[in-house]
């Protein structure tokens, strides 16, 4: 590299180019032939000004991103108070709800028998069912998706079935689950399994289909065996699609579990919502909505994190 002998004001390359040698050659004529005599005196001044402007714009952007959502929440709060005052007097005030929330969230893991448990337990039971159904769906759906992506026969065999079943609300499967398993827990897991499996199959198959022919040619030239092909090429190439399918299905599963548990009863956040309604504890339901939303965000962030880690195009 000859960058060291360049005059100080001549920046050889503002970003370290990956291929250093090429970058240097490209820049050399420019920096040697066209030295701008005026630049050293003028150059330092605009830089702090620009930095100032950038900083100001950044601060403004941060303020906006905080203030605007706060404004939305304020409008919702006003509507809430209006509803309490003029529409439904049974509706708790924000203050009452806040007090109740402090109560509920202070002891999330109390256990007074199966009909009276803290909200933490309720969430854990629901998460357990979602986890089980989600995991089973991954075990079945991802391999099936791979087979559908790799073989036209398998794809033709399954596509009509999936097309018919995909738009059906997973809750329609609950009675079938109850009949098959004769117990509520496996039935709820079964419903989540049905919820999760379609996006996983469809995304995995699409991922396999989307693998560039180049990779397949490389595999062909290297004479990779079927298993090696799956392990070294198909699986890593498809993984981002698979995780996208998993992220989608987890999001839907978290919505479906609430409804499923309302129907099955037992322990779980959905059942808790229904139970509190039966006790006319509307503030508990509002708290549950907030908590379910929060857990949903955490689940999505987790999957988003995994997704980002596996996105090789961004490494």
């Amino acid at each position: 590299m000859s960058a060291q002998i360049l005059p100080l004001n001549a920046v050889p390359a503002d970003t370290p180019d990956a291929d250093g040698s090429e970058a240097t050659i490209l820049k050399l004529p420019e920096t040697e032939a066209g030295p701008a005599p005026a630049t050293p005196a003028v150059a330092p001044r605009p830089v702090p000004l620009l930095q100032d402007r950038v900083r100001r714009e950044k601060t403004a952007a941060i303020l906006k991103s905080i203030l605007l959502p706060l404004l939305t929440f304020a409008v919702i709060l006003a509507a809430w108070i209006y509803i309490h005052d003029h529409v439904a007097h049974g509706f708790p005030t924000p203050g009452q709800t806040w007090d109740h929330a402090k109560d509920v969230l202070a002891h999330p893991f109390y256990d007074n028998g199966p009909n009276d448990m803290g909200i933490g337990w309720q969430l854990l039971y629901s998460l357990g069912r979602v986890g089980a159904g989600f995991g089973l769906a991954a075990l079945v759906g991802i391999p099936l998706g791979f087979m559908m992506g790799m073989s036209d026969g398998v794809r033709m065999a399954f596509t009509p079935l999936i097309q018919i079943l995909k738009p059906v609300s997973p809750l329609a499967w609950l009675p079938i689950g109850l009949m098959l398993f004769k117990a509520v827990d496996p039935s709820a897991i079964f419903v989540i399994f049905i919820t999760c499996i379609w996006p996983m199959i469809i995304n995995t198959a699409a991922g396999v289909k989307a693998i560039p022919q180049d990779y397949m040619n490389v595999a062909a030239v290297l004479k990779l065996g079927k298993l090696e092909l799956v392990r070294r090429v198909l699986f890593p190439a498809t993984l981002p699609y698979v995780v996208t399918g998993m992220r989608l299905s987890l999001g839907i599963a978290w919505m479906v579990i609430v409804a499923a548990e309302m129907l099955t009863g037992g322990v779980g956040i959905g059942f808790w919502v229904w139970d509190e309604w039966n006790n006319l504890n509307v503030s508990s339901i509002i708290i549950a909505i907030g908590v379910i939303g929060g857990v949903g965000i955490v689940l999505d962030l987790l999957m988003g994190f995994v997704q980002q880690r596996l996105d090789y195009s961004k490494h």
Binding site: A18, D214, N217, V221, L222, K223, A237, H315
Partner: protein, 262 residues
């Protein structure tokens, strides 16, 4: 018979929705061991089809392709391909990309030896410094270097290059061409390279195979490039024989077989 790679009466017809399309007709070519062949022709003339038949990625409709007197059937690492768009696996590092090939062809060798062989080939293309980088982190020219290293690491009988420098800028391309000449001087590989760059063909090859336009493309002329090696692009720029050879190829491409305006 002295030929090492021998294409005999290769015909290639593709079935398309609009009926059969005859891409190649009666392609005959005999290549000696250690020879560097450039295949040149207008786009759509079936150059890639010839290369893919030798690679085994396509089966000729009729005719045979012989390598060391054995009929080619199916792809294999003894006919390594340098693909136009590098085709590195983006989830593997540079090292792992080459290692994938080395593990395949040297499965019986101990780990340390395989490791050394990977690094040796990365050194050949001056890429050992980027061994732990992923393809997304290096430039197009560097990716193509790694693609060449991967192909060389297979110790192929024939090295196939499909417009290896087509997607690169002129300066990077010149760098890589010099590297290829260096490596060729050292390893004496048998190379079949597709190009549409006349200068590249004259600079690198021992013989230039010029193809007529498709459909039913075939070999029009073969030009022996009898310039002494090592070749220096700067000296050749003033060499009348170089210009004569270059003129012969241009004449073939733009007078005898001009592509009708699309």
């Amino acid at each position: 018979m002295t030929s090492y790679l021998d294409l005999q009466h290769i015909d290639m017809t593709f079935a398309t929705p609009k009926g059969d399309f005859n891409a190649l007709r009666d392609v005959n070519l005999a290549v000696r061991q250690g020879e560097f062949i450039a295949l040149i022709g207008h786009s759509g003339c079936g150059k890639s089809t010839v290369l893919n038949v030798v690679a085994g990625l396509l089966d000729a409709t009729s005719g045979v392709a012989l390598l060391k007197n054995r009929e080619i059937s199916g792809p294999g690492p003894n006919r390594a391909v340098v693909f136009q768009n590098h085709s590195l696996l983006p989830w593997l590092t540079v090292y792992e990309n080459v290692k994938l090939a080395v593990d395949k062809v040297m499965a019986d060798k101990p780990k340390a030896e395989r490791r050394d062989w990977v690094m040796h080939n990365l050194k050949l293309v001056h890429m050992e410094h980027a061994a732990d980088k992923r393809p997304g982190e290096i430039s197009g020219g560097m990716k193509q270097r790694v693609g060449i290293a991967r192909a060389l690491a297979m110790r192929p009988d024939v090295l196939l290059m499909d417009e290896p420098f087509g997607a690169l800028d002129a300066l990077t391309r010149a760098h890589l061409q010099d590297s290829v000449m260096e490596i060729q001087a050292e390893l004496d590989n048998t190379v079949l390279m597709i190009t549409h760059d006349v200068d590249e063909a004259v600079l690198l090859s021992d013989r230039i195979v010029m193809m007529t336009n498709g459909p039913s493309a075939t070999i029009g002329e073969i030009l022996a490039v009898d310039l002494p090696r090592p070749r220096d692009r700067l000296k050749l720029a003033g060499d009348p024989h170089y210009h004569h050879l270059r003129g012969r190829v241009l004449e073939f491409l733009y007078q005898k077989h001009q592509k009708t305006a699309a």
